[in-house]
Symmetry: C2
Subunit: 222 residues, 2 copies
DNA sequence: TAGATTGTTAATCGATTAACAATC
DNA sequence: TAGATTGTTAATCGATTAACAATC
């Protein structure tokens, strides 16, 4: 597979392609053109072909793309076939919801262990995932392969726990705390789920929509 | 306030600015230049000044920006002072976690009600928010002001519930389901929290990092 | 074969960065 | 006042779109 430098925008579209291809497969569609894919995703066919061409030639002239084959290619580009191993730090509300609801294995991940400080949780297991003490975290990381740490601790613990993680050799963090972990100098890969950032973006667009509606009403009214 | 068309990239940076300004205020910093803000956020001073200039003139030559004043401006741009009203659809794992942990009021929102189909939940309330039956959803929306619906239902329910919401007059959805709600023809504002998309992007970067490391090792090895 | 559709090169568009006059 | 820093205009860079030869 090609590994040229690919822009972040392209990477962010890959999971959407994957999702759409899964939908098509579920609907029994086995072939699609970039034109039709563009219609269904609201993208131009050019962009779709450009995106794919970053990684190879997956289509066939005059025919289009084979849906299952393309799906497998994109899954592989995203690393879904690598069996990455994850650990969860913090079994509070959001951590628990992830363990209960989020199917890591659907995305090629294996959730190997969870960590918390609450004594009543330590030593138990949930959905087959053992919950260990935070005190075991460092030694666990050093003696087990861990590719990604899922950070779901309270706000106050975010920075110290991150320091412990990186000091123990963790290179990638899936961050659910509302804290900026990305140090300008750090080489750790951080992917954020910032609920509040997302809600505030939505808030902006809602405010904009209301202003437009109000302006229109005022105009019609005068 | 200016309301020119502002690019999505700019909007997505605003919550980060807000977060940083809150941090600065918590640290007792009352004044900052675009240069220093750039250092702390990993952005160029030019970009920061360009971003702010979409909405007005918030700084002072030779001085920089007053932190609390700028914070208030950005909060206002994001609509945080409008008291938007939200309802939650689906009090499962993620919905419950949002009710319990996510402080809507911190971001200017009021969570007015939640809806579910589970009989044991209906009629109860949690954190002061009443949980109502899904059957009441349509009439509730028609007789109460609702700006945003938070969609946290199971995958299968996503589309039918969205249709009910839009048919009842909802214009904005904060979508926690792993389903593409954005119809190319629809005018509904949709903001997605796609856990799996986020994890897969992270997965890509982890895979890339591993490939680079392996390539380097192979080179050193030969 | 003729029609369709790819992969890629070139053209356009938009976003980021640099430069600088204005001014606190 | 002199130094600092803004807001904005111009230059650059990168991403998207269009065009088209290659070919299934």
């Amino acid at each position: 597979m090609k590994r040229v430098k690919v822009s972040n925008n392209v990477i962010r579209r890959l999971p959407r392609y994957l999702r759409k291809l899964d939908d098509l497969m579920a609907g029994g569609i086995s072939r699609i053109s970039s034109k039709e894919l563009g219609v269904q995703l609201g993208l131009t066919p050019s962009q779709i072909r450009q995106d794919f061409s970053c990684f190879g030639e997956f289509g066939q002239q005059g025919y289009g793309y084979n849906v299952p084959a393309l799906r497998e290619q994109i899954a592989s580009i995203l690393g879904m076939d690598r069996g990455f191993r994850a650990i969860l730090i913090g079994v509070g509300n959001i951590g628990h919801a992830l363990m209960d609801n989020f199917c890591f294995s659907d995305w090629g991940f294996h959730l190997a262990a969870a960590f918390d400080i609450k004594p009543e949780l330590i030593g138990t297991s949930f959905q087959g995932v053992p919950i260990l003490s935070m005190e075991e975290l460092g030694s666990y990381i050093r003696s087990n392969p861990v590719d990604v740490a899922v950070l779901a601790v309270p706000k106050e613990a975010a920075i110290p726990v991150t320091e412990l993680l990186t000091a123990s050799g963790i290179e990638a963090i899936w961050n659910f705390t509302n804290v900026e972990l990305t140090e300008p100098n750090s080489s750790t890969i951080v992917e954020n789920i910032h609920f509040s950032d997302s809600l505030l973006s939505l808030s902006y667009y809602v405010a904009e929509r209301k202003d437009e509606t109000a302006a229109k009403a005022a105009k019609a009214d005068k």
